[in-house]
């Protein structure tokens, strides 16, 4: 048993010949909170989908618990996914089910537990995210932060060893953000799980992460503990961490010469 539960080895992935990732290496040790950071469109979410086996890499491999994900058949992938929980960017709650049924969904689908035990487990999970009192509500009646917490309760319903968070802080007010922050850390430690956070919110991520990977231009541009990265002199990391407007990542999308384009009437 290796100490890393998820390993990404020389991974390349792309659509139609255009590579999004060009040889990425990452390791996610057990029990740690590891963050993947990078600008929008740098393929962070795609990395999560590669780990979950929803898409196949063009080159290289992803190993989860020692097994190469894209070599598994459907049943094998489903077995691996039972060890994972994933929090989607907008929660992705089932809108036709109540909060209770949403959290109960993985238990009902994947286990043969009696309904009375499911009830207790669901209430325990909802209690952990502080929403036991809201179990009768429908997802449409929840605020964004509450929906995110319900989705978190659903992601940990079956006590996964890997919890993946896709932009857990995006679009939340500061209070909800703090709550989610605390929950990610405390749930990780309570469950003894490994958390993978994909985010571009520097402050919150640095607060809870043990280790951070920076992805830019399809490669790992920098890695290290939050403390190291804060001190980093790498221009890209510096620009990202301090949120500067211009730097190695240019403000402008590549375009033709400004003057000549304005003067030229044809488009």
């Amino acid at each position: 048993m290796t100490s890393n539960i998820v390993e990404i080895d020389n991974l390349s992935f792309g659509y139609k010949g255009r590579l999004l990732h060009k040889g990425i290496n990452m390791a996610f040790p057990r029990g740690k909170v590891v963050a993947i950071m990078g600008g929008s469109g740098s393929g962070k979410t795609t990395l999560l989908r590669l780990i979950g086996g929803q898409i196949k890499p063009t080159q290289g491999e992803v190993r989860v618990d020692g097994k190469v994900v894209h070599e598994q058949d459907r049943d094998g992938i489903f077995l691996l996914r039972r060890k994972m929980g994933m929090l989607f960017q907008h929660g992705a709650l089932f809108t036709d089910l109540s909060v209770f049924d949403n959290v109960a969904f993985p238990m009902r689908e994947l286990t043969d537990l009696p309904e009375s035990m499911i009830r207790d487990l669901v209430l325990m999970k909802l209690n952990a995210v502080g929403l036991r009192g809201a179990h009768t509500l429908m997802p449409t009646e929840l605020s964004g932060g509450m929906a995110r917490r319900v989705a978190l309760a659903r992601a940990i319903a079956l006590d996964p060893c890997i919890i993946m968070y896709d932009e857990p802080f995006a679009g939340l007010d500061p209070i909800s953000m703090g709550v989610i922050c605390d929950l990610i850390r405390s749930l990780n430690d309570a469950l003894g799980a490994t958390s993978i956070i994909v985010s571009h919110d520097v402050k919150e991520t640095f607060l809870i992460a043990d280790y951070v990977y920076f992805v830019a231009d399809g490669v790992v541009a920098a890695e290290g503990t939050p403390h190291d990265l804060m001190q980093s002199t790498l221009p890209f990391v510096h620009q990202f961490v301090h949120g500067e407007k211009d730097g190695p990542v240019p403000f402008h999308y590549p375009a033709a010469n400004y003057q000549s384009e304005l003067l030229n009437q044809q488009l």
Binding site: Q54, L79, R81, H90, L93, F94, T95, F105, E109, L110
Partner: protein, 273 residues
């Protein structure tokens, strides 16, 4: 000279563009047909769960079947009444207004029952299915399900498919029956056709196997087509608001055309036999 060449080359490019546009669209159609067929087979393969946990299917029967009852019954009633009125108008010229029952029953059982039910079903239940699945895809619910190691085809698609296949023949049978009753109401109390002649002529000329069973067969085929189209369009919709709305429109258009085309094919097969 130069101008001439320019016109010529412009014409050439526009023709090539036109032709390649047609080719592109054809390929897209064929691709979608293939993808739809694949979804159909996957649905069949993964439909074990929709019977083992039948309440999943039951729930969908409620939404597709029970919720369509009102529109089906009301439409059938009016269709039956109009058939009787129109039929009487023509038949009385030949002095055979008693045959009105046969006319109403045969047109309903053979054609209008299955076809109109399928068209209404596509509009009422089909669009709902497409929009629901399209939105589930847009809001990543299907992705979430997959990441939870739950197969969306087994959990979402198959129960809806079987619900449609079970509901539509029932709706079609109801349509025919209610239509006949509507025709009876117009023919007997309103126009004054003899009640005995109405029913006995009908019974003498409507064959259980040739007419009623064939009607049921038609409605089952239409059910498979309509439900599958609705499911595929939802499943295949681009995950945007625009994508889902286009998919919903396509469901109605493609379902209607498919039903009418299939109706011709099935009818010609049934006539030969």
């Amino acid at each position: 000279m130069n101008l001439k060449r320019m016109i010529k080359s412009n014409l050439l490019t526009s023709i090539t563009r036109f032709l390649s546009g047609i080719g592109y669209r054809m390929i897209a159609r064929v691709w979608r047909l293939g993808a739809g067929t694949r979804l159909f087979f996957l649905t069949i393969v993964y439909s074990g769960e929709s019977f083992r946990r039948f309440h999943l299917t039951l729930r969908e029967i409620y939404f597709t079947g029970v919720m369509s009852l009102l529109i089906i019954i009301v439409s059938a009633f009016f269709v039956g009444m109009v058939l009787a009125l129109q039929g009487y108008n023509t038949l009385q010229k030949y002095g055979s207004s008693e045959a009105i029952g046969v006319l109403v029953a045969l047109s309903l059982v053979r054609e209008l029952g299955p076809v109109v039910t399928a068209l209404l079903f596509a509009g009422r239940a089909g669009t709902a299915i497409t929009a629901e699945i399209g939105l589930m895809k847009t809001t990543e619910q299907l992705s979430a399900m997959e990441m939870m190691a739950v197969n969306p085809i087994a959990r979402v698609v198959a129960p809806r498919f079987w619900a449609g296949v079970i509901s539509m023949p029932i709706l079609a049978a109801l349509f025919s029956m209610v239509g006949v009753l509507g025709g009876y109401l117009v023919a007997v109390p309103l126009i004054g056709v003899d009640s005995g002649a109405f029913w006995s002529q009908m019974q003498a000329n409507v064959d259980v196997r040739d007419d009623i069973v064939n009607g049921v067969i038609k409605s089952v085929v239409f059910a498979v087509a309509c439900t599958m189209i609705a499911l595929f369009e939802g499943f295949d919709a681009p995950p945007t608001a625009e994508g889902v709305s286009h998919a919903t429109t396509r469901t109605v258009v493609i379902s209607s055309l498919t039903v009418l085309g299939l109706d011709f094919v099935l009818t010609s097969f049934m006539m030969v036999v």
